[in-house]
């Protein structure tokens, strides 16, 4: 006697789904769009937040001392990748004065020069970057920590760049001068990926070259910075000292010495971007909640109608021995399978979309963006799968309960 494994619930469900391709495809697509949108918008917000954090961390200082007219906005614009002119400079002597303030462990200068509009057809600065940042390699506390190997012998013609600018060992041309890349910073997703770091002397030299070029090419962009001018002093506070206290001491000291300095607390950087992110998150949350609710109603309605069309089939199944529980499981499994499949496709679609156009989307939303770390993506994918399954279960509740509770005789009669 040949024995054949009996037809399982899953087998019946998959065959039923195959038998209604239109319903199956429409339901899967609907859920894929909803779950894909929820998944990708959450990734964008998280990616933007991570990127902002990294950008602020990369500033590397507990305090940033700037000339009075400078405000945190100028610095945060640089982190966000917006190129704005940074015209406020102070004398490099401020570094020693700040370094002498009690509680300051280390102070290092930086000078920022934005690359603005180029003269059309200008071939002397083909390298694409946003800012030239001059720093002091000997006292630096910003660039070094982010490089595996810091080139201690940084020459005048050397540069360290953000990952979007050039690759290690390549040459770049700025104001007709060739610089060699001696270090490339890891991706941050912020404007710092488009920055060129050079020694302060190199920056002053390039500024001189820019002025020389402007004489030859009237209207050519000029770096309006001169020797011994800096934009900021980045401060590391000694352990055991309060950052706020040291900041206050620096302010008082500058007032006493008529230096007119302002102290920026890096934690306050990116507040505007954070606020934008928070607003964006609220909008996404509201939209996604509405979309999800509608998808539950839509899938529930589709399956309620489907069940109505299948009353006779359900009645027959009951007549040949299916229990109420079997019918409940049959309908629920059909919905959950479709919705989970839709969820998986949505996540794949969302991931692909973000990989292809994440930077563009972030730019249009005016936020920095970095692909979130894999553990977060994995946990988000698990949550999205859970949400898909929940969507399926909620959508299936009414059709599954109503069809399983129906008297077989009524089901058959309604189906005729």
């Amino acid at each position: 006697m040949h024995r054949l494994r009996r037809i399982g619930l899953l087998q019946i469900v998959t065959r039923s789904l195959k038998a209604s391709p239109f319903r199956t495809i429409v339901t899967v697509l609907c859920v894929a769009i909803v779950i894909g949108t929820i998944f990708s918008t959450t990734l964008i917000v998280r990616g933007a937040d991570d990127s902002l954090q990294i950008g602020i961390l990369r500033m590397g200082a507990d305090l940033i001392v700037v000339p009075k007219p400078t405000n945190p906005w100028h610095i945060s614009q640089m982190i966000l990748g917006h190129v704005v002119e940074h015209p406020y400079y102070m004398d490099i002597g401020a570094v020693d004065k700040v370094a002498r303030v009690p509680g300051v462990q280390k102070a290092t200068p930086q000078a920022y020069a934005a690359k603005l509009e180029l003269v059309p057809g200008c071939a002397c600065c083909p390298t694409s970057f946003s800012y030239l940042i001059g720093f002091d390699p000997s006292s630096d506390l910003v660039v070094k920590p982010w490089l595996k190997r810091f080139p201690e012998d940084l020459r005048r013609t050397d540069a360290i760049v953000g990952c979007n600018v050039a690759a290690y060992g390549q040459n770049i041309v700025i104001f007709d001068q060739v610089l060699t890349i001696r270090g490339v910073l890891d991706k941050s997703g912020t404007g710092l990926d488009d920055v060129v770091f050079v020694a302060l002397d190199t920056l002053y030299w390039l500024a001189t070259e820019s002025r020389r070029l402007a004489l030859k090419l009237p209207g050519h962009h000029v770096l309006d910075i001169y020797s011994n001018q800096i934009s900021a002093v980045l401060v590391k506070v000694e352990p055991g000292h309060s950052v706020a206290d040291v900041g206050l001491r620096i302010k008082l000291e500058s007032m006493e010495q008529n230096m007119d300095l302002n102290v920026i607390y890096p934690q306050t950087l990116g507040q505007e971007a954070r606020q934008r992110l928070s607003n964006l998150y609220d909008i996404f949350l509201t939209n996604n909640s509405i979309m999800w609710g509608l998808s539950v109603v839509l899938v529930g309605t589709v399956f309620t109608l489907t069940v109505c069309e299948r009353h006779r089939e359900i009645g027959v199944l009951r007549a040949i021995g299916a229990t109420q529980g079997y019918i409940f499981k049959l309908i629920t499994l059909e919905v959950v399978l479709l919705v989970v499949l839709g969820g998986v496709l949505g996540m794949l679609g969302g991931t692909l979309t973000l990989h292809l156009s994440g930077q563009y989307l972030a730019k249009s939303l005016d936020v920095p963006y970095l692909w979130p770390d894999p553990p977060y993506v994995a946990s988000l994918a698990a949550s999205a799968l859970g949400l898909s399954a929940t969507t399926g279960i909620l959508s299936a509740l009414y059709p599954a309960i109503s069809s399983s509770r129906m008297e077989p005789c009524n089901a058959i009669r309604k189906g005729q």
Binding site: R6, V316, I320, G321, T323
Partner: protein, 220 residues
């Protein structure tokens, strides 16, 4: 085997009460072939639904092998339907997305058995003359072929009683004879059959004949 004691089934339609089955007393013995005839709307299908536990009576008791089926839980009643009763419906009742062989072995899925007897399913399909259509879908079969598959499905769990609701409706005369011959053979293999039909011409197949009029059952 089966007994109905004062079984009634009433429906409310607006303010009226329709007595689909009215105070029916019936005792069916093992290996009886009970043939119930009556006009459309006389309550025959409702009577069969009551016997099969597809609906509950408004009053009275239905005893299947001595057990009141109204007292059974859904699980036990479903178990009784899959093991003890085989249904043949008036309408096309095959699951449209399952092939003939799968439709026939489907009731085995609702028993406690882990495996369905493939030989029995194939034997039944052969017995109803559809060996070559095992892999067809119901939509690829004629109405008569679908009815034959439904008969094979009703028999796959070797039920003690077969309930047939107008199994020959919508069929031509030749196919009707073929179907009745199969049902007759089922009965001859000591299966109890309760069949309802509007066709008085088929009454002679029954070992016991009843007529149903406006919900009232009368032996003739």
């Amino acid at each position: 085997m089966l007994s109905l004691e004062g079984v009634s089934k009433h429906y409310s339609v607006g303010n009226n009460i329709v007595k689909a089955v009215d105070n029916v007393h019936l005792a069916v013995n093992r290996n009886d072939f009970v043939m119930v005839t009556g006009r459309s709307g006389s309550g025959k299908t409702t009577l069969l639904s009551l016997i099969g536990g597809l609906t509950k009576p408004t009053s009275g008791r239905i005893l299947l092998k001595g057990v009141d089926i109204s007292s059974l839980s859904d699980k036990d009643l479903s178990g009784a339907r899959s093991r003890t009763i085989g249904f043949i419906f008036q309408f096309p009742s095959l699951i449209p997305f399952l092939r003939v062989l799968d439709n026939v072995r489907l009731p085995a899925s609702f028993t406690q058995e882990k495996f369905a007897d493939l030989d029995r399913a194939k034997e039944l399909i052969r017995a109803v003359g559809l060996s070559k259509r095992s892999d067809s879908y119901p939509s690829q079969l004629s109405m008569g072929e679908q009815k034959r598959v439904a008969i094979a499905r009703a028999l796959v769990n070797e039920p003690e009683i077969v309930l047939a609701d107008e199994p020959t409706s919508d069929l031509d005369e030749a196919t009707e004879k073929e179907i009745m011959q199969i049902i007759k053979e089922v009965h001859e293999k000591s299966t109890t059959v309760v069949m309802v039909t509007h066709s008085a011409d088929l009454a002679h197949y029954g070992s016991r004949r009843f007529k149903m009029t406006a919900g009232v059952l009368r032996e003739v």
